[in-house]
Each structure stands twice: as C-alpha cells, then as structure tokens.
C-alpha cells in the first residue's frame, strides 16, 4: 500500500511508533523530574537550546553544541548500526562497548608506535592501517561471544556484557602497566601519551568551532550497511534468520554463519568507533573516553526501526540527548545521567509492539482492518 510519494503505510506507521516512543520517554522523564522537584520545561529547554546565563549551549543552542552533537552522533550511529545488523538476525549483541575499547587501544598502539612525516604517503598509510587494526581487534574480540553462541549455545547478552567488563579492565590494565608504571594513576585519569602526529586525523575549523571528521567513516559504514541490508542476498538472509530461523534453515541458509557474520561485523564497527575516539578525537587512549556509546546503540537501533536512515536520525536524536544532558547539570543541578533514564524508557517502550496494537484497537475506527 503506497501513496504517490512511494511511502508505504507500513513505513508511516513505523515512524509514528518511533515518535510515540520518544514522546513517551520524554513524558516519563518529565513526570519524574517534576516529581523530584525540578522544572521539566526548563530542563528540556536547557537540554536542547542551552542557557545563556550559564553559558551552556545544549544540543542545538549554538555552534559548539551542534558540533558536539555531530561528534557524538558519529559514535552512536556507528554503534547503532552494529546493534541493528545483529538485531536484524535476531542476535542481541550488547558487546559493542567491549569491542570499541579493544579497538581504541589497538588503534592507539599502532598510531603511537609508528612515525612518519605528517601528511606524507607513509603517514596516511599508517593512519589508515591503525584504523584497520582497530577494526580487526574489535572483530577478533567479538569472535569470542560469537563462537560461544554458535558452538556452545551461550546466551550472547550475558557473555557480551561480561566481556564488556573484561575489556574495560583489560585496557585499563595495559595502560597502567605499560604507560603509567611509575606514576600510578595521575589526577587526569588513566590516559596514555599522545599518538604520533601523522596518525592524527585533524579537526577542521568550522564557523569558530572544531568539526570532528569522525562522521566520515560513520557515513561510509552507513552506506555499506544500507547496500548490504537492503540490496544484497546476504542482507536478505540476515533478515530471514531474524524473522524465522527455522524457515531460514529450510531455505538453505546457514544460520550459524549468518550469526557469526553479524556479530563479527558489529565487532569491527565497534573497533572503528574506538579508532574514531583515538585518532579523530582525543589523540590518545583515555580510559574514560566512552560515556556508554556501545550501550546507546541499542535504543538507536530500536527507535531507528532497524532501518539505516532511521538509525541515522535516531543516532542524531540520542546524541542530542547526551550532549544536551551535559547542559542540564550546570543549569538545573540535575545529574546528566537523566539521559539514561529517558533512554531506558525508550528501550523499554520499544520492547512492546503489543502496546501499539492495544492503542490501535482504541484509536482505529471500527471496521478497518488491522495490518
């Protein structure tokens, strides 16, 4: 059922559902804020438009806010795509965070160890190889839970969450052991020295702010993901496995290989996100670089309705939520973790397609057929 713009009824419904979920998330967030004595209108306005008196820009209240939101979105869209490709095959890969930490550390090690004149062919090659190494590291890391799921039947949600804890401790151990052996943990946090200049992808001056180029690899991955998921046999097989693994088996699809593929792809994307953190953003490995980018991929994939374009929009939205939340604390005194609360409600509501059927029953005029 398509109208003359080629937009199907189903698609409109999907978008409406996502919008409803987001509105619901904000409504619950607002009610809780109000209940504990904050002004939700002031908080949300600080979140999105900042506050002049406090010098905060929120997510969109100025060029710094907007550029921060774009930087944040490059990470979250990437982890959202990683979550999406797994969810499409019915796999709950929650291990992107761990793959990202491994990727970030490997990207740092490579970019730290080589040196070439900045801008030379060798320098560019080294920078690219460091990114590639990070992706391979993420992929190898993710092969652990993938193998455990396929060969041993271990539930991927539990193994990947456990491995996330292992990955953050492991990278912290490596940094402390090899880069801070005498000083211990300095007041600035667990950080390494800077990577070599030639491996740094510069930030561009843009209208008085700094534009982080991390969005470029993210867009490339999004395009590849779109082609694979919507225009290839592999993408079709992934969706068949996700909707009905038994039918997939009968159709001759090797379910195990598809599961392996989606998890390894997610690992590589996580590794890439790590490389963006090191080579595009911080130029060193900072143990505290991620405010939970990997976990944020889950709401992004869910409200993006497992659709690449939807995920880009959802990623921008969740990024705005994060960057905006940083303005909430100075303006209202409410902790920035309030964004987790809203994200949680969003994930929670996205788990209930049944709720929409229930709503539809009341809203739809009688006699109309339910889709």
């Amino acid at each position: 059922m398509s109208n003359r713009f080629g937009i199907s009824r189903e698609k409109v419904n999907k978008v409406l559902q996502s919008v409803a979920i987001i509105v619901f998330g904000f409504a619950i967030g607002g009610i809780i804020m109000f209940a504990v004595g904050y002004d939700p209108i002031a908080a949300y306005s600080a979140m999105f438009f900042g506050s002049k008196e406090k010098g905060m820009q929120g997510a969109f209240g100025g060029i710094f806010g907007i550029l921060s939101t774009i930087r944040e979105a490059s990470f979250i869209i990437l982890t959202g795509l990683a979550a999406q490709i797994a969810f499409s095959a019915g796999v709950f890969n929650v291990g992107i965070e761990g793959a990202m930490y491994l990727g970030a550390f490997v990207s740092f090690m490579c970019a730290y160890s080589f040196s070439a004149p900045a801008g030379s062919v060798l320098g560019v090659l080294g920078a690219l190889l460091s990114i590639l190494a990070a992706m391979i590291a993420g992929l190898l890391w993710m092969s652990i839970p993938a193998f455990l799921k396929i060969k041993r039947g271990a539930h991927e949600v539990v193994t990947t969450i456990m491995l996330n804890y292992v990955a953050t401790s492991l990278t912290e151990l490596l940094v402390v052991k090899f880069f801070l052996p005498t000083t211990g943990v300095p007041p600035g946090g667990i950080v390494t020295p800077l990577i070599s200049r030639s491996a740094m992808i510069p930030q561009i001056d843009f209208m008085g702010g700094q534009l982080n180029l991390g969005f470029i690899p993210t867009i490339i991955v999004a395009i590849i993901a779109f082609i694979v998921m919507e225009r290839s046999v592999v993408g079709y097989s992934i969706k068949v496995v996700g909707s009905n693994p038994n039918a997939a088996k009968y159709a001759g699809i090797e379910v195990g290989r598809i599961i392996l593929l989606v998890m390894l792809a997610g690992g590589a994307m996580g590794g890439l996100a790590g490389a963006i953190a090191v080579q595009f953003t911080e130029y060193r490995f900072d143990q505290a670089f991620s405010p939970g980018y990997g976990t944020s991929g889950i709401p992004v994939a869910l409200i993006g309705r497992l659709d690449v374009v939807g995920i880009i929009l959802a990623g921008l939205f969740i990024a705005a939520l994060h960057i905006g939340a940083q303005s909430i604390q100075p303006v209202t005194g409410m902790p920035s973790q309030v964004s987790l609360l809203i994200e949680g409600v969003i994930v929670f509501s996205a788990s209930m397609p049944g709720a929409f059927d229930l709503l539809k029953k009341y809203i739809k005029p009688k006699g109309e057929k339910n889709e």
């Binding site: 809780i32 041993r152 401790s169 889950i298 949680g344």
Partner: protein, 308 residues
C-alpha cells in the same frame, strides 16, 4: 608467598568474604530459576536490584530503621516484578529488550533520585546498616554473619522443594515447558507467571537491599556492579537447579572476594587490581562456555504465550 597463603586469618577472611559475596548472586539466581521455570525470562535483574538498593537505602535513611529499608526494597522488587510480568504476559513485550531498558532506566533514575534525596552526585549518605545475625571472632578480628545468609539458603532450599517436590512445582514447570499443554490441562498460565514474576522480583529486591544496607551502608551509583547479569549466567551454570545455585553462588562469590583479598594481602605490585577485577566476569564467560551446551532450560521460557 607460601606463608601468606596458609595464614589462617587470611583464609578465614576469604571464606567469610565468599559467604558475603554469594548472597546477592544466590538470591538473584534462585529468583531467575523459579521465574524461568514458569516460562518468563527476566533480563532486568540488574536494574531491579539497583532500584531496590536505592529504595532500601532511602528507607533506612529516612526512618533510621534498616528493617523499613528492607521493606522498601522488597516492595520495589515486587512492584517491578509485577510490572515485568504484566508487560511480558499481557503486552507480549520482548523480554530481552525490556530487561536492557530496565537496566538503563534504573541507572538514570537512581542517580537522579540520589541527587534529589542526598544532594550529592554518585553516592548517597551513610545509612543505618542491617544488624548482623551474629559475630564470630577469629584471632583478633570479628566476622559478621548476615541475616541474609541463612535467608538466601532457606530461599534456595524452599525453591527447590517447591519446584520439584510439590504439585505446585509441577504446575509452575508445566507453564515453562509447554504453555499450551498446561493451558489445555486447565492451568491458568498467566496467573502462574504473574505470581512467579512477583516472587522473583521480591528476591531481586532482597538482593539489591542486601547490597545497599547490609553489605554496604550507603547507596552508590551502579553499585550492583553486574551482579544481576552474573545471576542470570548462574542460572545456566546451575542447570536451573536451586540447590546447584548454592554451590555456584559460593564459587562465584569466592572469585568476587578473591580480588579484594589478593590486592589487600599481596599488594597491587604482584597482581594488579584490574586483572583481579576481571576474574568474576571471566569465570562467568568460561562457565557459560563449559555449561552452555549441556544446559537445557524450560522449553517455553522467554516465549510470549499466545492463547489460541
């Protein structure tokens, strides 16, 4: 090195540490086992534990009475369980996604409430702790046995008895094994699942309460530290058997406590803290690698039940 290992004081403290660390894992895994036997899978254990941890600390702080704290924690657990049951049974929510949602939500909510109640970020103020059941003195150190230790073991024994030795247990397990057949036999599947969801919620609530106002005496951000997830892993590790969960929790509790013990007695120079911190998580992964295949849970667990 060898003298350190045989030092009785250290061994004793290791044993008591393991007995402390096992409690939330045992309560969590027994709750999850009974729930999964009825056909629901609660992936929000971590989140419910954290909400109850906050509620109990709040209750103990406002009244000065830790037993009111326990009551608050249990109520929050029960209500979360009821809500979880309702949404899974009635609205056929995806139980994995919902669990992840609860866990994220509770991290955000407890932080907002911490600031609202105690006006500090990341941690609250110290509250009255639950009094210990008894204190044992070894050498010149006193070790306290928590009320929650016998409680959690009794709960595990009771759950085993209920599930495998009574006709109610048969009813519960039939809902998890084949909901349609159970329905045909005249069992009210949704009612059983609601009840088990509330029961499991109460146990998760007790686990969170124990962590906040017995093991500690303060609420801190994300203080459950993945123990909810470890509890879910323990369900598989113990093969859906509450008795095996006692052994499993003790083993995991031992690894959990080992990290503090090694860093305290051997010093960080020999074995760094980060390495030790990984141990319980690594053990969980290894346990799943070994037991994952062999484990076979209730056939209908996690599938929404659609009445024909």
């Amino acid at each position: 090195m060898s003298e350190i290992l045989v030092d009785p004081i250290i061994l004793v403290s290791l044993v008591f540490g393991a007995l402390r660390s096992m409690i939330p894992l045992l309560l969590g895994s027994v709750g999850e086992v009974t729930l999964e036997e009825s056909g629901l899978v609660n992936m929000g254990v971590e989140g419910i534990m954290l909400l109850s941890a906050f509620a109990s600390a709040y209750g103990s702080w406002t009244t000065g009475n830790p037993f009111i704290g326990i009551l608050y924690g249990v109520i929050v657990g029960a209500v979360s369980g009821l809500l979880y049951g309702y949404l899974s049974v009635k609205l056929k929510a995806d139980q994995v996604v919902m669990g992840l949602g609860i866990s994220t939500f509770s991290l955000g909510l407890t932080e907002v409430l911490t600031v609202a109640v105690w006006t500090t970020y990341g941690y609250g103020k110290s509250v009255t702790r639950v009094p210990p059941l008894l204190s044992l003195v070894f050498g010149n150190l006193a070790y306290q046995i928590s009320l929650f230790l016998p409680l959690s073991i009794i709960v595990a024994l009771g759950a085993f008895y209920l599930l495998y030795k009574t006709k109610y247990g048969l009813t519960i397990r039939s809902c998890g094994e084949n909901a349609l057949a159970a329905d045909a036999a005249g069992i009210d599947v949704p009612k059983v699942r609601y009840l088990m969801s509330i029961f499991a919620g109460v146990l998760f609530g007790l686990a969170g309460t124990y962590i906040a106002i017995d093991w500690n005496n303060i609420f801190t951000r994300g203080m459950t530290g993945g123990r909810g997830w470890v509890s879910i892993a323990l369900v598989i590790f113990s093969g859906w058997n509450p008795l095996a969960a006692i052994g499993g929790s003790l083993l995991f509790g031992f690894f959990d406590t080992l990290q503090y013990w090694v860093s305290a007695s051997l010093g960080a120079s020999l074995l760094p803290a980060q390495l030790l911190r990984m141990i319980p998580y690594l053990v969980t992964v290894i346990a799943l690698a070994i037991y994952g295949k062999r484990a076979k849970g209730p056939a209908d667990a996690g599938k929404p039940y659609v009445k024909e």
